[in-house]
Assembly symmetry: C2
Homo-oligomer: 768 residues x 2
Amino acid sequence: MNKYLQHDPWCIIEDGFHESKQLESESIFSLGNGYIGQRGNFEEYYSGEKMIGSYIGGIYYPEPAEHGIWKNGYADTNDKIVNAPNWNIISVRLNDERLDLASWDVKNFKRTLNMREGFLERSFEATNFKGHRIQVTVKRFLSMADTESAAISYTVKSLNFDGHISFLPLIDGDVRNKLTNYDEPFWNVLQTKTEKDVCHLWAQTRRIDFHVCGALTFSFYKNNELLNVNPTKIEKEKVAGFSVGTDVRTGDTVCLNKYVAILSSLNHPREELTTCAREKVKLSRDKGWNQLFAEHAAVWDEKWKQSDVIIDGDLEAQQAIRFSIFQLNQTYNGNDARLNISPKGFTGEKYAGATRWDTEAVCVPFYLCTAPQHVSKNLLLYRYRHLQKAIINAKKLGFENGAALFPLATFNGSESHNEWELSFEEIHRNGLIAYAIYNYVKYTGDESYLTDYGLRVLIALSRFWSQRVSVSEEKKKFVILGVTGPNMYENNVNNNWFTNYIAVWTLKYTLECIDKVKKNDFVKFEDLIHEIGFLNDETFRWKDIIKNMYYPTDKELGIFVQQGGFLDKTLIKVIDIPEDQRPVNQHWTWDRILRSSVIKQADVVQGLYLFEEFFDLKTLTANFNFYEPLTVHESSVSASTHSIVASAIGDKQKAYDLYLQTARLDLDDYNNEVSEGLHITSMAGTWLAIVQGFGGMRVKDNKLHFSPHIPDKWVSFAFNIRFRENQLNIRVEKNSTIIHNLKGDNIELYIDGKLIEVLANSQREVKI
Amino acid sequence: MNKYLQHDPWCIIEDGFHESKQLESESIFSLGNGYIGQRGNFEEYYSGEKMIGSYIGGIYYPEPAEHGIWKNGYADTNDKIVNAPNWNIISVRLNDERLDLASWDVKNFKRTLNMREGFLERSFEATNFKGHRIQVTVKRFLSMADTESAAISYTVKSLNFDGHISFLPLIDGDVRNKLTNYDEPFWNVLQTKTEKDVCHLWAQTRRIDFHVCGALTFSFYKNNELLNVNPTKIEKEKVAGFSVGTDVRTGDTVCLNKYVAILSSLNHPREELTTCAREKVKLSRDKGWNQLFAEHAAVWDEKWKQSDVIIDGDLEAQQAIRFSIFQLNQTYNGNDARLNISPKGFTGEKYAGATRWDTEAVCVPFYLCTAPQHVSKNLLLYRYRHLQKAIINAKKLGFENGAALFPLATFNGSESHNEWELSFEEIHRNGLIAYAIYNYVKYTGDESYLTDYGLRVLIALSRFWSQRVSVSEEKKKFVILGVTGPNMYENNVNNNWFTNYIAVWTLKYTLECIDKVKKNDFVKFEDLIHEIGFLNDETFRWKDIIKNMYYPTDKELGIFVQQGGFLDKTLIKVIDIPEDQRPVNQHWTWDRILRSSVIKQADVVQGLYLFEEFFDLKTLTANFNFYEPLTVHESSVSASTHSIVASAIGDKQKAYDLYLQTARLDLDDYNNEVSEGLHITSMAGTWLAIVQGFGGMRVKDNKLHFSPHIPDKWVSFAFNIRFRENQLNIRVEKNSTIIHNLKGDNIELYIDGKLIEVLANSQREVKI
């Protein structure tokens, strides 16, 4: 826990330089645009602690996997996000003295992340040991309008210095990963070239042939007038750039605008990379800072219209929810089905930057509500495009007949994680991928997705489940042995209730979709089943499984049992674990964790959340009240899921308490780990805790439902969502809910079970 | 499976050069003397496939552990056996041509491991591309009389070569491990030095300060006359030695005897290492080959007197059991409580050369019967000396009050293995360490061991179990959650029957020993409990656990259930698994193995074996018949344990079939893995299958019992054992058993339940 940032509705502000918090600040002040991402590293040289981080969507490194002991079925590589050539550098010199905030005297430091317009600004005064004093203002953004472009404006005013000021705008290809490659370089720099005032650095990832070209150019101003300087070219083996400078006197202001383009072979032919990158930065410079920024800010304006949340009466909460929405939009723009969302987004190396089931669990619902339909559709297509690899993955594990097991963590569809207890056993991810299809179709009504893509995936998933279950002669039931449920603090269990449930649900939903697609487009249906060799006979076993699955339950307690044997454990409430042993994953051995009853994250409760409609209030309440007190919420998406269920069962206080655990997780650094990066996917959970939790939003039978309640501390809260053709603003006040139909036709929806109609371009208030 | 070796009662013979089998032969033809070990590498240069292996007991390398994902409680290092400076080299040149069996034409190749006298001999004719032909005979041994000494006699006869023959006896410090260090050198060579005709190489292991010095000298003969040559010194950065040569004509014979000493800082002050090593080789040379060899062979003669097994009517079996006894005596001599036995002994790098619970499970019973008492006692003291580290290890995992968890694999008492499912969970090893104490006291009658060492260990083990169990409110019983039983093909299970059983047995035995020691030596007892803070109150919980432990059982099937939920599995008999999927660990994914019912090795049956006396025949039979058909015996100690239990329940055919699976495991390379090294500990199991299985040997109430039966194929079999003061030979024939009391007083023992007395120095026949 750690509060050094100022509260503000639209900005994250660090007032005064918190040197010991620089790693944390680098995470918090990260920028991204869904294609490239950049930690809040300083542009100028900095000798203090830092973690340089510059990332490009879709570019990863397949590090050969080393294993203590190999297990058959493991992947050959551990793929990981690559720290990419660093385009963020502008070194600054006063005569021969290099500006360095770690060694210079710094005053009036202020750093601001402006979320409304999506830029980072920093200003400070700095004095070196010779007494030379300057005032610095730096502003940068990664364009949301042209995601291959970024720009930095670096302004220095001499406060007492007469002499030569020079700037070194650079691209550095000599970068390494900090956490994962133990000093092995991931890049071959193929070319560094400077020509006039444009330069580029062309690099290739080792072992796998991704090419990246970063180009830069600049404009240089003195006292707001463009200077035509003759730059010194810097063209080293792994660094390209310029040194430009001018003489100044006290009161003079010099400014360097650095224009950057980052292109990759994912989007351009390799042979055109350097030319395209150079052209792009020239165009950016011609366009100029203001125009470039205006185009960028316009995109943010539109994003906020679609996704803003307003909380009246709680400035901290207001800031935090905007931070979440901002980061989610920085991480994923939904324009490229090859990209996805890793738990840390573009803000750090942890979790290797790979995609996990967070995407289906929390991100899909967020983007469904806050972005055009193609955005969430592309998240689904990501898995669709990986279907063949998921089939190969399942085959490797002994499954047949086109059964698919999607990877636990991936960049390209192949498994990139190698812990048997997760990659082989944490298989509910397959259920969540089915659920995301269900969710998407339910929210958008787009049944054509099933015909064109979804059904093919669903059948492959159902084929997996039908082979993964086995029969217990003892129980005379189908069982699922050897799994790791969402609670990863227990591995290789039998009959995880959630896994068994979502397996059966997948089979049911697939059967439903088969009927639907057959009806909607018989020709395409016939083509599909012919192509994948699907036989109706397969469904006999599915129906048998649906009818005869074993679900561990305890009738006396009235609960679903998390897994076979869970009640053999000595149940310890989290409240009885001493504070100094929390989080337990930092204080207990794995041995102790495994044997304890401690639950890492929503497990049975994950099922309650996803399948709420199938359970009565008594069941929901009994299970929630049994499991929540055992749960340490040491996954960042746990508290939000619990908060939503708490809202659903009417436990408002618990809902709010749990919401607080997730709301400012990163801004206040609850777990002392924000230095490693932000919990991007968890932020979608925070948003869901407001909209599905406090707002009580559900979709049933093609209609929106709300059953809002408001935390006591808040005066009101409002959120923007898209629902099919409509753009809506829902404002929840103490005694009423106001629906504003901003765009689209008249819409019918339910408030607290009561059907109302809101006419186009109008609003309607419903009193409680 | 692979048979290229000749059958012989006392020798292992390779007739003709099996080049493609060289790696296998290197393992088979390994030599050792309990302190140093040497794979069957050729002395001369060999460009073919090879795995150089020279090992020194107690010298290991603590490689920093790298983990995909760190789990709290893991060890910081993976310790592993080190390939030590190679003293085995004698390079041979004819003029400038280097002898190389991979490129020269080889005829009449014969390699013989003489087990009776413990030496390796090799002879062949070789012709190079110039047509030069020589006949070679090489003989080497690692002295059992002075374990720091080894000698090689290398004889070359010119068959048609007139010219210069030279020998290069060397020690090479530029050695690496093949399997484990990925080319990282483990040694710093501190000094190479030649002086007159003695040289040494002094090296230090990196990261940990073991010092080793290898010294060598030689005698050089031509036509059996000693030559006083002036050797060329070889003194490179990492190699030391000489080049000695002479001119020869057709028919001449030259011979180089190389005398080697290998000393380590485990036994000598570092500063004296080089001097001592040099002195030792000079003494060896002065003593001369014949005397040195005679002293060595005399030790083997005595070993065979104590441990030989004679099988009449089955040459293959005869050869194999002698190979087992030979290898076990080569691996461990019991003179140093700092050393122990790793599964591969000194024959390869696999399993990192660390000590595991094989020691207690099979090796202790073997050495108890075949070696002086101090040998097995030292195996026990190995654990006693590691008790404090085992307490620290348990503490790291959260256990208190002096509870001990011994490591899964170790060199120095610390855990050197890092798979949570084994290091944290495969805890029955703790039970086996208690059982070894029980076994030792039962066999030797040496209750003073309990007073001086054993009870301290037992209390620490019981303290562990009493904390490791927990209470299941549901079952109203004590349970043990999260363990991996002996069947490692299933991890993190609850209530493994064997683990629960041995835990309770340990508590009972500890209580028994507390009473015994209290009675035997009250003063020492008081000192002990004072020192370790033992309170009688602790035993209340132990007694509670003894009374209320949960044992999974199935009354209908009349069996103990391997673990909670085991009967949920689809039970597949091994006979129904297609041959081409065996061994399953090479063909199935880990995922499939975990979910299957396949049992790797004796699990419930391990309990039947250890605690046979507590079960009636019906129970033993029902469990054996249920579990054996599910067991793939993919651990090398599985078949022998099963064979013994099969003998005990009177299933003679099964006992013999299972014995065959273990008897020639390495000689016939059943699992195509002997290239990696021999299954040393499993060889003790083979011996037990004969003595405890076919011989039916047990100890009850200080008396030996036998209930022999003989495999149909055999005419008779006989084994030598020591029992306390007596040396006995037991010969089992078709219709009678003959006990020969070779040494010691009159002895009373039981044959098939009938008490007989065998007078000193006489024999007695009991008819069936």
